[in-house]
Symmetry: D2
Subunit: 328 residues, 4 copies
């Protein structure tokens, strides 16, 4: 891909066999993420992309012990290194030397890709389409874990994208007495899925500041829409409440709010960021058990030659798109 | 007191005997808090003030069971109600109906005051001067508890006032491997006390943005200086770090920072606010055990007639003042 | 009641008006608890009993501010005092001076009873029958909270009584990926309710030691059956697992297990004990929202004159009884 | 070594160069652990032993990326695998496939040993003697972490061995207001070190049941003496208290206690077990900072040829021995 919004499939060279510590994966399915959309509008050079991958191991490099050719696998974008002080102290979630495949010349929208062995997580008992949700579901999981819901809490969830939708059952499993999903009324199908997953749905097309009936009503607010929403979303928090967000701003990313008010209401602001990627076995179990209903999340499937069309659909059809996956 | 910076002692009427649920306390000592200074510059009408009180119960109103005349006590500014849904759910720390004495016509800089019985906490084994530190020490305690230090964390503490100084031993008891206290070089005595309490001391007179050697070095940053410091203090946090602050801004209180950077570094911002007041028995034990060395915190003592002079000293002598208490 | 298994309704004297700090409650409904059964077999003197009470306030004693005649209320058996050091430190859950009505001459199986005002929790929007479940549901809540389930954990729940059944939705809301309810096959209706509430059901009539397929499969085991079950229930725990129990032994209460094995498997044993009673507002909300489906839990209703028959049924009909409530 | 109490140094074969994923370490120092003493009394065949190792990397096998010849290192007995579902879910502390060097033909009391690369943790800035304390200090750390001390808790620590002694500063850093170290009066030097590290010391030579003044006084009890002590140590716990232990029984390991009393006092029993080994970077920092004063813990040093004498001393001189290390 390259900005503005150009896509091209190319023949790329891969080594005859994987180097030490790496494996060659045949890609079955790769999902399209919101990050892909913004990258496609900004990329200055041709770049590879795609990071929600389910595939099969085709070859294994030297010194890879715990994997076997033919295993179905999903891919962590970056993993923990296992060796740094943070890992050795048990805080693999903060590993600052996480190896991964982000930025490599061949990424997920491809037929085959090379990845570090530590990024590879075996799965079974799921279709490749649903398995490819492990990556974004892991992001949902990190967000819910960061939020630290207590039993009985009321939760507002702003921005009904796939990350938020998959967070709904996790929130309900994490103690939420009530999940209110807030989105623009044009996101018809997403709000419908939110409702089916157990959330109450509130369409908000104007400023949150005007929706007084929602103010001070929630122990937790989770924001997956652009960060510009964060300051007004603080109004929704009850005393002692906590806002968790994930994602980046549409513009500069700068946010402003009243720190005195934040103080007197004893609030918290927490960023979720799933790097290194964790929790894949946990979400794979939840996809298998139907706790996260993968089929409901995937709204469209395309073939790899139609990647450009898939990207267009994601950008343009807010009414019907939930999650689009691309099959190689 | 009244703005701008006027003080007057007056004869005020108190009832002959306390109403139901209230007690009459003879004030022994009342400490001066930073909040008092800013209030004294802003108050439009004559107002009573003083809320760091140690005294003795002189009279007890009807239906007060758990207290007795003659008991030495310290006062919570506001307590939990015990009856609301939050209290009944065990979250007394979030009680939103907290009764207190804030804003009453007679407060702590007085000879006698009426207070709700639920605000009264007995003590013994301490001087009244040191006991009067229970209120600000409870604030320190709430801040440290909100920060949730883990064993081995490095902590930066910005703004070496009494709240911060009393937080130092609590931080060292809460897991901090290192506490670096950051303050202006003109706060000579405060930095000296910080060092004596076990902190490393760094004088910073210019912008934190220029002190690159401090950036990304701390799992926790605690800010007790005006909130305007918060955005630049975020630079000090390591990946996954968390900033806790207490207090209010010198101006509007608005703060701005880059939410993208905050996201990619997986940061947290937490407000501490000690309302309702809790943890008095805990800090009284720590004052008694010398874990919080009360005598080191109190730098000056005045009599009630000299309240104005005491206030002037607090405002003007940043070099030598740590904590000033006023004896009635 | 008096052992062995004698019951009698008597005319008891109550004061003309409640003393200070107390209220007179007209009892609408009182549930029968397993504790009542064992007490009825052991009591040496005539004793009053009944502690799962929903009623209406008829009179209010002096100095009770936060309640009004005519309010529908449920009763905590014992509450926190609000004044001791533990309460003042925010640990009301550990209050060791909890006032209550246990052991008073008139308890819940009665028409009217006097209780300390602090034990009274208002409710609305529920039938008195369902509201009377607040007390045992609060016990379930304390047990689930003590267990501290993490998102994705597998939970075994041994002994399908009302406490366990009401814990099922709380466990599923607290992170449990799977709840396996284990009970004797003769508890037909209870196991049926367990299944309807979302648990998998396993009938075990012999020793747990022989059910190897259940061993090492659970991050959490919750035991509500007599404590004699605890040692063999430890076998069900995975490495690092944790067993929480509530209740007392049928005999001496002594349990024995291999502390070496417990060490090498890094296990934990935790007792739940809901004194002081907390979490009533939380469970009342959950009963209202249908998260805890009160109607499914109540299997039989009796009038107060039929209390003895109700007690017999509880003791004798394990096949059909879930929860029995008595209406005054 | 071989039971009963026989020791012999032997020439053992090592490969010319380490296999893939392994490193050859020249042993500088290896500490003697209590486990070594009991093993030496029970071993039926000749066995190698020693697991508290500090040394230097001499050779590196293929595919070991993150280590270099010449690095000073300490060794984890077993590490986490990095690949299993628990590791991928961030729970490396529960890894059930932990690779290690336990049971290999050459262990720590040797000149050179082969170990998996994942067990190797670099260090600098410490003597090899003090660095060899990282392993037992990691055990202390796991115990303190398992106990989950809250700020202000009172802690009783039973059995003043090196694990307990190194736990003292960690407990004081983790919130303990008071640490009372309880041991037999014949452990003179150990109790002296406990006192120097900030604990209060109580010599108890008879049954704990008779020391009523200690009963119900502690939020936490930590037991590092044989597990037979656990039942009577429960008496020391306050309501809601929690006992953490580490280690094994002198006999069968069976313990018995009253589960009714445990329930009514809402107690918890937690096992600490440091497998996989974690927290080495954390404790190395604490050894460097002097928070854990390594030199005070090491009471005796021997050369490898005198290993048998060192073992004798450990077993026989309870009066003077704290920690014995053996230099290769």
């Amino acid at each position: 891909m390259r900005a503005p919004w150009q896509f091209e499939l190319r023949q790329m060279a891969l080594p005859d066999s994987p180097p030490a510590g790496e494996v060659l994966v045949r890609v079955d399915v790769c999902g399209i993420c919101g990050t892909d959309l913004s990258a496609a509008m900004k990329a200055k050079e041709w770049e590879s992309f795609g990071h929600e991958v389910a595939g099969v191991i085709e070859q294994i490099g030297p010194s890879v012990q715990h994997l076997a050719v033919g295993r179905k696998v999903v891919l962590e974008t970056s993993s923990f290194c296992g060796h740094c002080a943070l890992c050795r102290n048990g805080r693999v979630d903060l590993c600052n030397k996480a190896p991964g495949f982000w930025g490599r010349p061949v990424m997920g929208f491809s037929e085959r890709m090379l990845v570090p062995a530590c990024c590879v997580v075996p799965y079974e008992g799921l279709s490749a389409e649903v398995a490819s949700l492990a990556e974004p579901a892991g992001v949902s999981y990190d967000m819910v874990k960061t939020a630290a819901i207590a039993l009985g809490d009321r939760v507002a969830l702003i921005g009904p994208g796939p990350i938020a939708l998959m967070a709904i059952p996790l929130l309900l499993r994490s103690g939420a007495r009530q999940v209110v999903c807030i989105g623009h009324s044009h996101s018809g199908r997403r709000l419908e899925v939110a409702r089916a997953l157990g959330a109450e749905v509130v369409a908000v097309d104007g400023p949150l500041a005007e929706r007084k009936e929602l103010h001070r009503q929630f122990e937790h607010v989770l924001v997956t829409s652009p960060v510009d929403t964060v300051p007004s979303a603080l109004d929704l928090l009850a005393y002692g409440g906590e806002l968790t967000y994930i994602g980046i701003g549409t513009g500069s990313g700068m946010i402003s709010f009243d720190a005195n008010d934040f103080h007197f209401r004893k609030l918290q602001l927490r960023a979720s960021f799933a790097s290194p990627a964790l929790y894949f076995p946990a979400v794979l179990e939840m996809l298998k058990a139907g706790i996260i209903p993968g089929e409901r999340i995937i709204s469209h499937q395309f073939g790899l030659p139609d990647l450009a069309a898939a990207m267009h659909l994601c950008r343009d059809d807010k009414e019907h798109v939930v999650k689009v996956v691309v099959k190689s």
